[in-house]
């Protein structure tokens, strides 16, 4: 069986930097240039956000980029069309991140097939609970070689973390604090304790920290107890200010 690119990447002996952006923002046709520039800048993995009108788990920055992307004309079909042939240029793992309703309307099976054909490695669907996924969709995802990644938070009980670890593949998305997405400038003792607690649980699935990572300081804190970190809001703010061509500066700024 073909190995999932996420697993191959996570076997590398290094800490991983992953970037999230909302597809269709700042401009409708920016998706492919952003992906190319991120890979060229040495980013290890990308989460491509499928915009939604009502993104419950997101803070203002991602909400606004999502709204703008929809105004620009982004749709599920449009994104898939943009991504056709992407594997001729991009070899880092690609994850689609989006809410469940647009996927339902597209048709879950059709959605999975399309992802497989394009070369998408996995999905993150914040409002699809792990139990519903297991019962109704897991076999379909498996059939199309797609991983589905789950979130945990500082409030997730240990027993549930164990359960999520058991059913996970790829990685576990550790939400840094009890909060919607959005940049913070520092992490406090609470976060450090939480990162350490999870590290000591010796989970079989690697963890990646996301939410609230915006600079070298928070990036360094996040990767000290996990395999990597995901940056979303701070990158979207950068795109808005500096545009698609300067992406390398952002990445070197974080890894400085």
């Amino acid at each position: 069986m073909k190995q999932n690119r996420i697993d191959l990447k996570f076997q590398e002996d290094k800490k991983l930097l992953s970037i999230y952006f909302s597809a269709g923002f700042p401009n409708l046709e920016d998706t492919v240039p952003i992906l190319k520039n991120l890979q060229a800048a040495g980013v290890d993995m990308v989460e491509i956000g499928l915009p939604f009108s009502d993104p419950l788990a997101d803070g203002p920055t991602i909400q606004e980029s999502s709204t703008q992307a929809l105004r620009n004309g982004m749709t599920t079909e449009k994104l898939f069309t943009q991504l056709e042939g992407i594997r001729d240029h991009i070899d880092i793992p690609l994850v689609l991140m989006g809410y469940f309703n647009p996927m339902m309307q597209y048709g879950i099976e059709k959605f999975c097939k399309r992802c497989e054909a394009i070369g998408i490695d996995g999905l993150i669907i914040p409002d699809l609970p792990v139990d519903v996924y297991n019962e109704e969709y897991k076999s379909m995802f498996d059939q199309h070689g797609l991983y589905n990644m789950f979130l945990i938070t500082p409030q997730t009980p240990d027993a549930r973390i164990r359960y999520i670890d058991e059913v996970s593949n790829g990685f576990i998305y550790m939400v840094s604090s009890a909060a919607v997405t959005g940049a913070k400038t520092t992490f406090g003792a609470t976060q450090t304790d939480y990162f350490q607690r999870i590290a000591h649980m010796d989970l079989k699935t690697p963890t990646v920290v996301g939410f609230g990572i915006s600079n070298t300081e928070t990036y360094t804190a996040a990767i000290s107890h996990s395999k990597g970190a995901i940056i979303g809001s701070a990158f979207i703010k950068f795109l808005e200010e500096k545009g698609v061509d300067q992406i390398k500066d952002f990445v070197t700024g974080i890894r400085a």
Binding site: D54, L56, Q63, E64, P102, M103, Q105, P126, R160, A178
Partner: protein, 393 residues
Amino acid sequence: MNYNVDEKGYYGDFGGAFIPEMLYPNVAELRENYLKITAEPEFQKEFDDLLKNYVGRPTPLYFAKRLSEKYNTKIYLKREDLCHTGAHKVNNTIGQILLAKRLGKTRIIAETGAGQHGVATATVCALMGIECIVYMGELDIKRQAPNVARMKMLGAEVRPALSGSKTLKDATNEAIRDWINNPVDTHYIIGSVVGPHPYPDMVARFQSVISEEIKIQLQQLEGRDYPDHVIACVGGGSNAAGLYYHYLNDTRVNIIAVEAAGKGIDSGASAATSVLGKEGVIHGSKTLLMQTPDGQITEPYSISAGLDYPGVGPMHAHLFRSGRAEFISVPDQEAMDWGLTLSQMEGIIPAIETAHAFAALDVRKFEPDEVVVFNCSGRGDKDLDTYIDYFKL
């Protein structure tokens, strides 16, 4: 068939808890405790006492003589408009504040559209001395100034929802985000039978006092504890859920739900979810909702701010799909005319939401010996500005 919620939190195909993991502990805490706590004698005693002495229950079941003569049938109005704060909404907020206290919560958040649920929440928070934050779409804040003032006077903070379309669905999103950011000390009082399980069932249970009283009242008035028809307006569907609750599995009773057609079903400005909606997920629940073919949630329209929700509670989605309930949609104009008719025939100025329900009399024929119960869910004081504009009063 069973029309109540099942043990997994579903009504047929609808319901469940489609929530981000960040909300899992909050929702699990509620799910594990709501039945246990509300069954405690101490809870029931306090709930019943507040409903009686603070809300003013039981509300009358009033025989509408002139209306009955005109339509040649037996029409009763369940007078929820006589509840403290002017609508049925307070039944639920009383229940939830007592639950929140027992869960040790010290901060309450709520969403509101027209402001009725916001006022009912601010009221019970004042009663209990608990901090209250109400999220309200920026557009609604401008449209519903008197209710904003009432909430402020009651000590609540009204926070504008600035995202998306700046109305009820966005206020709900903001309240959910607040809950994600404050998972330990905060309880979210949802105002309708929407949201993730156990909310639809919990809110329906708190509102079920409506049909519980009707059973007793009809027994005295008609010598039987059930009517032939129950009729209510449905936005999210909380007043309807309360009216139907004890008759859901009693097929002698015909259930009629009236939705807001706005400017007409095909006008692009409507809130008739059963006609225009498709199965999807909104605010943590699988239900029928109005959306684009691409799955983006659309903004509904009704002249009544309490009915313009893009979804409908999962109980109602199930009642619709299974055929248990008849769904009717009524345009703005007919609802407004009924506001005037009810005022001048029975001396009751209804909320515009409530007025929608009565338009069923123009659509459906009822037999002379049939008993028809309408939920008179709210009074029209809050809608006076709209009535004044519309009728040039």
